[in-house]
């Protein structure tokens, strides 16, 4: 095996891992703070990728720039979904939550199918989709930008959670939602902002991803799976746990790609996932 190719793929895996962490962070927030199982998390990435593509085509700008619109738009979309669909199932049986959120995912998928059909869409004139070469090594500039923005966003979210008053309200609500109101915390507000934020992060991930990739109606399910694996592996490790398990997933994907075959990538991730859950059922970063 060519060492340069392996190194290239590993770097790619690390960069992709950061993007996956970003998407998974939204899921982790929604699950951690609201105890809502947002199964079709990746479908929000998929829809956001289309919206990003539409805006890029309309203004003829790189999809990364469209994040300026998709992120606030999806924050509002998240709040609207929370108020209309999620709020009524808060505290309902897990089965009902699964049915409703999974159903919502199918609705999003079918909307995409109806409007854009199954053919993939990508922006034809991307600005950053080229490689930087260092003696044989080639690093994708688009992915480097995506990873950098992801890391910054992960850090900002960590800062929000640990250093701000609203973050304290989010963590208090997560720890004990019945008691939080006794502090004067408006739990409804915490919930709608958390859901909006979680969905806004998927939009950021999508606009970054579209710098080099294509979207199709089924993009959602692979992002959902990745996000779920990352959150489950990250356990109770907070933002840091999400970053590490995102890295692991990105690198594993790259290794599977390199050493086995591109079609084996998800299988490798799953195998690792089962091994982790076997030995550390509460996740890699759980305290107990």
């Amino acid at each position: 095996m060519d060492p340069i190719l392996v190194t290239n793929n590993l770097i790619d895996g690390v960069l992709m891992g950061m993007l996956y962490s970003l998407v998974a962070l939204g899921l982790a927030l929604i699950f951690g703070v609201m105890d809502i199982i947002n199964f079709p998390h990746g479908d929000y990435v998929m829809i956001a990728a289309y919206i990003s593509w539409l805006i890029a085509m309309a203004f003829w700008v790189d999809p990364s720039v469209t994040a300026l619109l998709t992120v606030p738009l999806f924050f509002l979309f998240g709040v609207a979904i929370y108020k209309s669909v999620i709020h009524p199932i808060l505290g309902a049986e897990p089965l009902i939550q699964i049915a409703v959120t999974v159903g919502l995912g199918y609705v999003l998928e079918n909307i995409a199918l109806a409007i854009w059909h199954a053919e993939p869409k990508s922006f034809p004139a991307p600005w950053f989709n080229f490689g930087l070469n260092f003696g044989g090594l080639s690093i994708s500039v688009a992915k480097l930008i995506a990873a950098t923005v992801s890391v910054i966003s992960l850090y900002l979210t960590h800062w929000l959670l640990t250093k701000t008053k609203f973050g304290l309200a989010m963590r208090a609500t997560s720890a004990n939602r019945l008691i939080a109101p006794l502090m004067g915390i408006d739990v409804e507000k915490v919930y709608s902002v958390t859901f909006g934020l979680g969905i806004a992060l998927t939009a950021l991930g999508a606009s970054l991803y579209m710098m080099w990739a294509q979207t199709n109606p089924y993009l959602g399910s692979s992002f959902s799976l990745l996000a779920w694996v990352i959150v489950a592996m990250g356990g109770l490790g907070g933002v840091v746990g999400v970053i590490y398990s995102g890295l692991i997933v990105g690198v594993l994907e790259a290794l599977g790609n390199t050493f086995i075959s591109p079609s084996a990538r998800l299988a490798v991730i799953y195998l690792a996932f089962f091994l982790v859950l076997w030995f550390r059922p509460r996740g890699l970063f759980a305290k107990r």
Binding site: K165, L168, L178, M183, G184, D186
Partner: protein, 238 residues
């Protein structure tokens, strides 16, 4: 007669379809300690939670400083100056002692007085200052109860409700908690306390209510109730 700080009139409340309170009349005046006692399942916790809009209210009126609060959401009631040390403490276990206190001072008014309040609760419970970076979930029972009380005080309540603050604590700590309650009253906080330690609480209470099966069955001055034959029999106070 001046307006009571808190007044419940014919309050009927419960959980969904399940009625627990059947017409509660209760009053707390400014500067008082009022005790609410009664057997398990009588509805004491439900009464406190109903005041904070955490149950279903079917009928009746609840006023705080003369204003109706039955339609006010819990977090807004807290802003008005009521709070509760909940049954079982209800700490934010993964958060540190300091973060729990910070959360207690979440309202705008309370946040402005944060430094003062911290100093006050640390002087009341020096143990908490030593343990401020410790995760709340790892505190001992006594420390946890101190934190629950301190966290409630961080919101600068005019009116503080305590639900069985001495539950599961060693006798010496129980006495400390009762001393603290008296101290808080002397510093100007009005208090409604639910207790299993009937004798202790009646001794410190200005007035008390006895509750059974969702109704008030007896009321009077704390010490007078202590010598009430019915109460002594029911609670085996000798």
């Amino acid at each position: 007669m001046s307006t009571p700080m808190l007044q419940l009139r014919s309050v009927e409340a419960g959980y969904g379809e399940f009625r627990v309170l059947h017409g509660i009349n209760l009053r707390v005046d400014k500067g008082e300690i009022v005790a609410l006692v009664g057997p398990n399942g009588a509805g004491k916790t439900t009464t406190l939670r109903t005041i904070l809009h955490m149950t279903t209210l079917y009928r009746g009126e609840i006023t705080f400083e003369g204003k109706d609060i039955t339609k006010v959401p819990t977090h807004k009631i807290v802003e008005k100056g009521i709070t509760m040390v909940p049954e079982g403490r209800g700490l934010f276990n993964p958060l540190t002692v300091y973060e729990n206190l910070l959360a207690g001072a979440y309202t705008k008014k309370a946040m402005e007085k944060l430094e003062d309040s911290l100093e006050f609760v640390y002087s009341l419970f020096p143990r908490l200052k030593e343990r401020r970076s410790q995760v709340a979930g790892t505190l001992s029972g006594g420390e946890a109860q101190m934190l629950a009380i301190a966290r409630a005080l961080m919101s600068r309540p005019k009116f503080l409700m305590l639900d069985e603050p001495s539950l599961g604590l060693a006798p010496k700590i129980v006495l400390e908690i009762f001393d603290t309650v008296v101290k808080l009253r002397d510093l100007g906080t009005t208090i409604l306390i639910v207790e299993q330690h009937v004798k202790n609480s009646l001794e410190i209470a200005d007035r008390a209510y006895v509750m059974e099966m969702g109704q008030i069955v007896l009321e009077g001055e704390g010490r007078a109730l202590l010598s009430d034959e019915r109460l002594r029999k029911a609670y085996l106070i000798i």
